[in-house]
Amino acid sequence: MRASNRANAHIMLSTLLTAASLFLVPALAVFADEAWNVDYHFALLGAPKEETSFFHQPNPSSRASLIYTLSEQHALGAVNPRDGSLVWRQLLSSDGVAYRTSFLRAGEGQDVVISGIGHEVAAWSAADGRLVWTLSTDGPLEDVEILELSDGKETAGAKDAVALSSGANPTVQRIDGASGAVKWQFNIDGSDAPYQLSASSTQIFAILLHKTILGYVKLRVVVLDPVTGHKVDEYSLNSENELSTTENIVSVGANSASPMIAWTDSLYTTLKVNVVGTKSIQSFDIAAHDDSPIEHVKVHAPYHVNSLSHFLVHYQTAASHWADVFHINLKNGKVEKAYSLPKLAGRGAFSTSTSDANVYFTRVTRDEITTVSSASHGVLGRWSLNTFGVAAGIGEQVEPIHAASEVSVKGDTVSAIRTTILLSTGDWVMLRDGKGIWNRPEMLASTMVVTFALPADAATLVQQLEVEAHSNPVAAYIHRVQRHLSDLQRLPSIIVSLPQQIVKGFLGTSADDLTASDTFGFRQIIVCATRGGRLVALDAGSPDKIVWNVNVADLQPGQSREPFLASRIAGVVEVSSRAGAGIQYNATNGQPLAERLPVVPEGPQVPSSQVVLYTMHDGTLEASFNRTPAWAFTPMHGERIIDMVPRPVNDPVASIGKVLGDRRVLYKYLDSNIALLVTAQDSMGTANVYVLSTVSGAIIYSNVHTGVDLTIPIASIMSENWFAYSFTNEASDEASKGHQLVVGELFESLVPDDRGMMGATTNFSGMQTATEPFALTQTYQIPEVISKLAVTRTRQGITSRQLLAVLPDSNGIVGIPYGAVDPRRPVNRDPTKDEQAEGLVRYTAVLEFDPKWFLNHQREIVGVKNVFTSPALIESTSLVFAYGLDIFGTRLSPSFSFDILGKDFNKLQMLATVAALAVATFIVAPLVMRKQVDQRWRFL
């Protein structure tokens, strides 16, 4: 009784609080009720690289540190270790160029971090990510280091950087840490390939690779004076017959007290170590600990000049890992093995952290974290891990790939440890004293393709309803009764949750009731295939959590794949890497489906003999019909196909014509078999646009644009009976440089009420009848580049469309209503009354992006490569999912939410009104009754 009273009180309190908060919510934006609510955004960096991820204090006077990383997607960023939020981020390569190497260095006690990628060295303010200076080198960068000099000549301010670049003139440059000016430059002579830089406190070493006649690699070291940049010494290491490739060079120790070079032979039987500056090479045998061969050997050494010169060598086999710790005697340059860390199963990750001169190694395995001092093998701290707290495939062992740690040591024990670990699932997690604090789904930054799938339970309902629709009435009725009887089993749980649902129903609105059944189709499963060969599923209704994450392809490093994803059957996701049958997965839990379900083709049933298949092959489009070549589209000489967008296979259109203001009809040219093709002719700077009939290969529309800047992406889209593309034209005598958006619409006839040549025939063969549409096009000047176009899709195509344009320069996505770019907007005159009734406004050449069109609100959506749209179950809404580096998703209602009550609908007010009316009726009813009786007894 008391408990229930308390529960009631609790409900009442929460009711009051909710009611109070309703009045307190301020109006932030135009769609304040939808911003941050229906949309979601993961600001990602991409998988962090081991060499470029570390803890660093952005403010030397404060002990608070941030995690810096330069990821495989070339995004440089700082992450707050407390909650995993992004502090700042810079995309160092936006044009999608993949660089082999990238560098990120932070000098001790410095408030800048220095990055090196491609031809560019840049310094960024560590606290807010502002650019301090940037410097371009002639050749591609091979290494960037920060000079930690102890000669006393260094100013107290910014520490200088040294950069090694290769190319035609390999050079070593010393760059002023404050201004980015080159202090000196040393040109390396000879044909040896620059490999890496290493700096001690007194000297700079440039390590070059010299190819011998026999094909082996010899290491050549050039010693430079850090103050003048003159060559002091040069020698070669006697590494002949051992080093066949650079892959066997394990490490070139950077700014440690005594830098060293380590390499192994190709079979990983001996480890050779050379302390840079000496010529002696010491070799250590690598003892085999188990049957499986060693996969890789890694060296972990501290980065600081004043740290102890100890290092750890990590050996990894397929089944286990172990490590040896070595000490370098600074006096005689001798390397000694100090102790070993025992073999443990699975993969391990080691990280190095320093505290004053002491060096600590942290070892992360599947089930525990241990920290040891470099001096002795005694364990200073041990934390057991039950789970990393990330979604993974059933039976899959989550392994650490690499880690970075920050330890604080009190006496002989580690009092606190923070470790960021990149896991084999692609998640980047933070553990504090062995407990998970946050996890960033960085694998989503390498999403390649995406599909939407209905959850399996919703899909079974859809299938059952289809069964009922297709059987005879009696059987359907029996089926339905049986289905309802089986539904009765869920009755107890429904009754239990009923009071809660009623309370929620009173307070909430229909739009946010996502926890129960998904009647609106907002809770679709979004399945992403990542470059790392994993499938990751998100729930569009509650996207904060990864639903499942399974490995679908075991990829070797450097191996790439081009997966395709489809959900042809509701509740089932199909992955294939070539067109054809693939592997199918349950959309709800990611389990591979054992039994093969029959694949139902989308759209109308067509006899298989009537299918034309076309494909892009060697820059030409080739089509085959009945396995015989049907047609080919070969671009002219010097012309290349940039993009080919077929009309979507499942593209429902509600109305086959456009109703004019005077209620006549312009018939749309609706052919499922059309595709938009954009080609470029680089020599002339022209872009050609074709609309092809993909059955016959006929060009039904074409256009040429001259003076096009072909280095800037040309985005194109095709839907229904219209197409759109954007390009940038180069500055010429008559026009300045500008970005243009062209929208074209195809009609059967431009005469109203006329269905064109074919009249009212119900079907047609694209091969036998050649029809040409009548096209209306209009060009709009737009303020910035569009890198990708997409269009909203709804279930029946009744809702008007929005053109979604990705703006890479302002890191946003705009949803342009189709009416704003309608090619039928009247030019050079005001619209007539009929045109006004259609919503057409006078054409203006400049199309400004209305701030209300931006889907991202205040967010910055960086590096979006593609936008995927999917219809929800209700007609008004389309689900949008943008991916690339960042993940962004939202729901759009281009014609406003006409079939669902919005958040502005006040249920409480409605119910109060009904209640008030009911009360008034009860009170007034006897009064009225008495008056009527009185009236009857009164004489006239």
Binding site: V606, Q610, L660, R663, S672, T694, A760, N763
Partner: protein, 186 residues
């Protein structure tokens, strides 16, 4: 409880003695037997002094009079037409509750009138003028049809008549292609 006052005379007695104050303007039914309206008595007595007693009209005269009256009735809807037309014009072609109600009344009036045509002309119809009454009724129907036409004109103006191609667009279907082309990514 105590001695009561003598009861007032009943209401019906008062009514009987004073008589109705208002005079009925419409005399569609005969007065009850023995009932005489005071004012009429006075009027007729004053008329008596000036005018000769009225001669009862003959049957032909009666027919002519009734026919005249019938024509008046028949043409009455036509006289309302201009006013209706102005009203319809003023309400505009937008779909609002006011204009919809007016259009509804516009349709309801003529249809009801045509349905009640027998009642309307019953009093004026005799055996002898039946032939002429046919023409009158036809004119009445015609006038009401004119009013209906006005209503239809109005409804058409509001765009409620399915007279254009767009009204039947939903029953037209897209042409089905006999072949389907699919892009096969490589």
């Amino acid at each position: 409880m105590a001695l009561t006052l003598p009861a007032p005379p009943p209401r019906w007695l008062e009514d009987l003695s004073s008589g109705p104050v208002t005079t009925k303007t419409k005399q569609s039914f005969p007065d009850p037997l023995g009932y005489q309206v005071a004012s009429r008595q006075q009027k007729s007595s004053s008329n008596k002094m000036i005018a000769q007693p009225r001669k009862q009209p003959t049957a032909e005269e009666m027919d002519t009079l009734k026919l005249k009256k019938a024509w008046e009735l028949a043409l009455a809807p036509a006289k309302q037409l201009p006013m209706n037309a102005i009203g319809m014009y003023m309400t505009g072609n937008s779909l609002q509750i006011f204009s919809i109600m007016m259009v509804f009344m516009l349709f309801k009036g003529p249809i009801q009138a045509v349905l009640n045509i027998q009642n309307t002309f019953q009093r004026l119809e005799t055996d002898t003028n039946r032939q002429q009454m046919l023409a009158v009724k036809a004119a009445f129907v015609g006038c009401n049809l004119l009013a209906l036409a006005l209503g239809i004109w109005k409804v058409n103006g509001m765009g409620l008549l399915p007279t254009t191609r767009s009204d039947w667009l939903a029953w037209e279907s897209a042409r089905e292609p006999l072949e389907r082309a699919y892009f096969v990514p490589t």
